[in-house]
């Protein structure tokens, strides 16, 4: 069989990407060799060779990214990566988010940052350049290997090296569709996961990945220091880069929290999900390393610790990649990547760098001379070191718990029937331990800041130190006494942390204003610690004072013992236009609008009432749903946050009727209905099990948001009135049916109050819109009169600018309406204007319907020469009846379930976190740009 010649593929892109990745991989390995050769020999040739290698691999990274991006921009669906992440209707602003949605794209993002970091290092690293760039080249080689996409066969085993972003769809799937050479015309893109269609997804991943990528740099300098056996000089650039990394990675994590808060509906910014944890621990280690780095520069102590901490920070980034990309997290994480068979490569990456880092460390660790004197307990470095140890401890705890799936996997290797452990409530588990870390960090940072490095004049300094601490403690105690009642918790641990947070704020403020006298240049650390204290308070308030206000007052209170009421009081049912009172709010679900085919926005009004029931404040909340391109998938719910300085009110739609959910549920729900057919006549009454209905009128117009008028549509709609026994109310419904060409579209109506769903049976249409071939023809000139079936028809002239309520005229149309007057046998005069239209050599006949009189008139030919027209007249006779399909016990379609949560103090959290990172930023700026 000869291979199929596929049509329309752009195979050159794939070939270039493959070549670029292989060249990049080889160039990186060259770079490693050349740079380390140069580190040994200090030869200008090797140096140049190393730089060129790095530049070439950088060029290859950019080429790969550019081409992948190009094929995504142009929707080249023959490529699996494009098909998987892009769809025709994806907005351009989400193209970047789609680019790094997948593993390959995020590896490329990482490599891209490495390229830029490498260029910056080539320019600034000076004498450290060779070992720094050599090791960075090695990292790049590893990353290239992740996307190289090579397969090696060993007998029956196939070893996969990397997963290429340029894989074709037909190489990924074996499907009959690929027998068709023109398959490309048939496939469409999968599109971006609706959860990721959020502006944060444009900036959060690149920031986070720059943070991840940059954690290697402090380690690179530590490694170089060891490489050249220089225990001191590397500390300066390492600290500068650690500040950079700490700031960027922290910002990236915080952005992720903001995204989770705004786009995910778990109701918070942090959930101790493994993916979150594993991005946090490298940051903690960078911060720990930063502290020991400062000690080392100030006192010459803790040099080795700094090396280990920076190594650990970087290794944790690699370990995090292994955890999130290898599939090992399985069912414990809500948002890890899926397995792509890269596990062994990721393990190799971790092991290699652990090996290199430790080997170098032990080889040269004796070069660091330990200071002979004892640590002074009243010195700053002493407590800073303890602080850094506590950070390490925190990172170890988080990493160990998060690694449970990894431990399980290892045990399973030896014990295949091992069942595996899992943490039952990971949020309370982590909170319980990290609370103590936060307490210690707050207290330590509070007073250690006030101490001095290498304390040599303690006797003179002591009184000043005590004074500052006393002021801080008194201020903190006063503030605590004034505010602790606002915290919704009596647990002493929470209150202790609350005090510790306040103490951190007070002591760092005291330090800022008395010691530094507001000198912002030196204030970086004080501001960072101050921010941490504020953040702790924010975490306490949002966590403990968080109130779910969407409680349903009528829910069964005594449902199950052992579960607190909060467990089953989270959801509130809202029925359109029926206000509900929850806490101090009156909540009304006003409307829902389909903004575009993939976006439904709800308008929920909150009226805040005072004690007398007067409205003090009103606002709208607009949670929305983003539908997936896959119409069988449920939409994702986007919360809406109403912000105020004191608290946020966070609302999202938790459940919606099956008809809005997805195709599958809608069909399933429809299939459960039992329709009964009623043949009903105008103004007659018909009975069903719980009441009776009356057909009030028939019309040929319809108002329905789902219906878009098209030319030639025939509409049959009716007004129905319903009554219930023992109920004086009148309920109405307006079902309709549309005939369009050979098809018909039903616009069913739901009478939610009575649980009725009704559709006009298509058989009714035939009575009102008889086959268009029927009727009697006549040829007429202007002012002619004809009689057909007792109707007088006068042709009075042409209307050259016709208008029609449902016909959409195009500019190129040549359309004319014939104006005719019909006189019925009873003497009623009807003006009729059938339209004759030519669009690109195609004739469109748009008949005029006179619904009340059951007349249809069309003009199907115009002879411009003789100015005559050919008409077709039809008088159709039928009783004023319709066939109605009516189902009882239909589910409501105007009901949603919402969850509404009050987050007090959330702004304290953001303010604290931003202040903390601001402190890091100020320290960084001070180091980077001397001012």
């Amino acid at each position: 069989m000869s291979p199929i010649q596929y049509v329309g593929e752009h195979l050159w892109i794939g070939h270039v990407i493959h070549a670029a990745v292989i060249i990049g991989f080889l160039a990186s390995i060259n770079g490693v060799y050349a740079y380390f050769k140069n580190a040994k020999t200090q030869s200008a040739d090797w140096h140049r060779y190393g730089r060129w290698s790095y530049l070439i691999q950088g060029l290859m990274v950019v080429t790969t990214i550019g081409l992948l991006f190009y094929s995504m921009f142009n929707h080249y669906y023959e490529y699996e990566y494009v098909r998987h992440h892009i769809s025709d209707d994806l907005k351009l602003k989400y193209l970047l988010a789609a680019f790094w949605e997948g593993q390959e794209g995020s590896f490329l993002l990482w490599m891209f940052w490495n390229v830029l970091l490498g260029l910056a290092l080539i320019k600034t690293a000076g004498r450290w350049e060779s070992p720094v760039m050599g090791l960075l080249s090695l990292m790049q080689a590893f990353l290239f290997s992740m996307i190289i996409g090579l397969y090696f066969g060993f007998g029956e085993h196939v070893l996969k090296l990397g997963s290429s972003p340029a894989l074709l769809v037909r190489e990924t799937f074996a499907a009959p569709i690929f027998q068709n050479p023109e398959y490309l015309k048939l496939i469409k893109g999968n599109g971006l996961n609706p959860l990721l269609q959020n502006y944060w997804m444009t900036i959060h991943p690149p920031t986070l990945f720059l943070g991840f990528a940059s954690t290697i740099v402090p380690f690179l300098f530590a490694f170089s220091g060891w490489y050249y056996k220089d225990a001191k000089a590397w500390l300066k650039p390492a600290q500068e880069w650690a500040l950079f990394s700490g700031f960027i990675l922290g910002t990236g994590i915080l952005m992720g929290g903001a995204w989770a808060y705004e786009a995910l509906s778990f109701g918070g910014y942090w959930a101790w999900d493994p993916v979150e944890n594993m991005s946090l621990v490298p940051w903690i280690m960078i911060i720990a390393g930063l502290h020991t780095n400062m000690i080392a520069r100030a006192t010459g102590r803790a040099v080795r610790t700094t090396y280990i901490y920076y190594l650990l920070a970087f290794i944790l980034v690699l370990y995090a990649s292994y955890m999130t990309r290898s599939g090992v997290l399985g069912e414990t994480s809500a948002h890890a990547f899926t397995d792509m068979g890269l596990e062994w490569q990721l393990i190799l990456l971790c092991v290699s760098f652990i090996g290199i880092g430790l080997y170098k460390y032990f080889q040269n660790k004796s070069m660091v001379s330990l200071p002979s004197d004892e640590d002074k307990i009243n010195s700053r470095e002493y407590w800073m070191f303890i602080g850094a140890m506590i950070l390490l401890f925190s990172a170890v705890l988080i990493t160990s718990s998060t690694s449970l799936p990894v431990f399980n996997k290892i045990i399973k290797l030896f014990q295949p029937d091992f069942k595996g452990h899992v943490i039952v409530d990971s949020i309370s588990h982590h909170n319980r331990f990290q609370l103590w870390i936060a307490v210690l960090v707050c207290l330590l940072s509070g007073f250690a800041e006030t101490l001095r490095f290498k304390e040599g004049h303690w006797d003179e300094f002591k009184s000043r130190f005590l004074k500052l601490i006393t002021i801080s403690v008194i201020a903190a105690a006063a503030l605590y006494a004034a505010t602790f009642k606002s915290l919704d918790s009596n647990s002493w641990q929470h209150l202790l942390l609350f005090f510790a947070g306040i103490f951190a704020i007070c002591s760092n403020l005291t330090y800022l204003f008395t010691f530094l006298r507001g000198n912002l240049k030196l204030a970086g650390s004080a501001i960072a610690h101050l921010g941490f204290g504020v953040m702790v308070l924010g975490i306490l308030f949002t966590g403990l004072n968080k109130k779910i206000i969407s409680t349903n007052l009528f829910a069964q209170q005594d449902l199950i013992d052992g579960f607190n009421t909060e467990d089953y009081m989270k959801n509130l049912v809202l029925i359109k236009n029926a206000p509900m009172t929850i806490k101090e709010y009156e909540v009304t679900y006003n409307s829902d609008t389909l903004l575009d085919p993939f976006n439904r926005e709800f308008e929920i009004r909150f009226d805040q009432k005072d004690a007398e029931g007067k409205t003090v404040k009103s606002f709208n909340s607009a949670p929305s749903l983003v539908y997936s391109r896959n119409e069988n998938q449920s939409p994702s719910s986007n919360p809406s946050v109403h912000r105020s300085w004191k608290q946020d009110l966070y609302t999202y739609v938790n459940w919606l009727p099956p008809s809005m959910m997805n195709q599958e549920s809608a069909e399933k729900s429809e299939a459960e209905l039992k329709y009964q057919n009623y043949h009903i006549t105008l103004n007659d009454t018909f009975f069903f099990s719980s009441g009776y209905g009356i057909l009030k009128s028939l019309k040929n117009t319809v108002q329905n948001a789902e219906y878009e008028k098209k030319p030639g549509d025939g509409i049959l709609a009716c007004n129905l009135e319903f009554h219930q026994l023992n109920d004086t109310n009148t309920y109405t419904s307006q079902p309709a049916i549309i005939s369009r060409g050979e098809f018909f579209y039903s616009l069913p109506a739901i009478q939610n109050d009575l649980g009725l769903k009704m559709k006009i049976n298509p058989s009714s249409l035939e009575m009102y819109y008889p086959n268009s071939q029927d009727g009697k023809d006549a040829e007429m000139k202007v002012n002619d009169e004809v009689f057909i079936d007792g109707y007088k028809i006068q042709f009075t002239g042409f209307d050259k600018n016709p208008s029609h309520e449902s016909f959409d005229f195009h500019p190129e149309d040549i359309a004319v309406a014939a104006t005719l007057i019909i006189t019925t046998p009873e003497g009623k005069k009807i003006k009729s204007e059938p339209i004759f239209c030519i669009r690109k050599n195609e004739v469109k006949v748009i008949p005029a319907f006179h619904f009340d009189d059951q007349i249809r008139l069309s003009c199907f030919k115009i002879d411009p020469q003789s100015e005559s027209i050919s008409i077709k007249f039809l008088k159709y006779n039928s009783a004023q009846t319709i066939d109605l399909d009516l189902a009882e016990k239909a589910p409501r379609n105007d009901m949603i379930v919402i969850q509404s949560i009050l987050f007090p103090g959330i702004n304290l959290f953001w303010l604290g976190a931003i202040t903390m990172l601001g402190g890091v930023f100020i320290s960084g700026i001070k180091r980077w740009i001397k001012f």
Partner: protein
Amino acid sequence: MNKFNIIAAILLVVGVAIFFSLSKDVSTYASFSEASENHHRVKVAGILAKDKEMYYNPQENPNYFSFFLRDPKGEERKVVLLQGKPQDFDRSEQVVVTGEMKGDEFIANEVLLKCPSKYKDEEIYVKKQI
């Protein structure tokens, strides 16, 4: 840094203590019969029984959703989730619930769904022929 060795030792002891106290936080994935024996909060991972009834009537109670789950031993039990019906529930296959047995029912207040479709779409969508 001698004093730090002491502190490191203390932290190590605390760490070990924490490690052993973990047993309270940690459990294995239980089967329903194990869950009815120990009456603790456990996680049960199972396969959604799609042929059995899933019940959610928000008008009656928006915080009550019940379905049937088959655990790895093949035992099928009714699970009452004290939440609204999660979106995309019908499409999910593997379901992990956290809670405890009460009588014949497993009462859960946490659920994690693994939808085959959410992160990997093994289908190629074919354009609709209009």
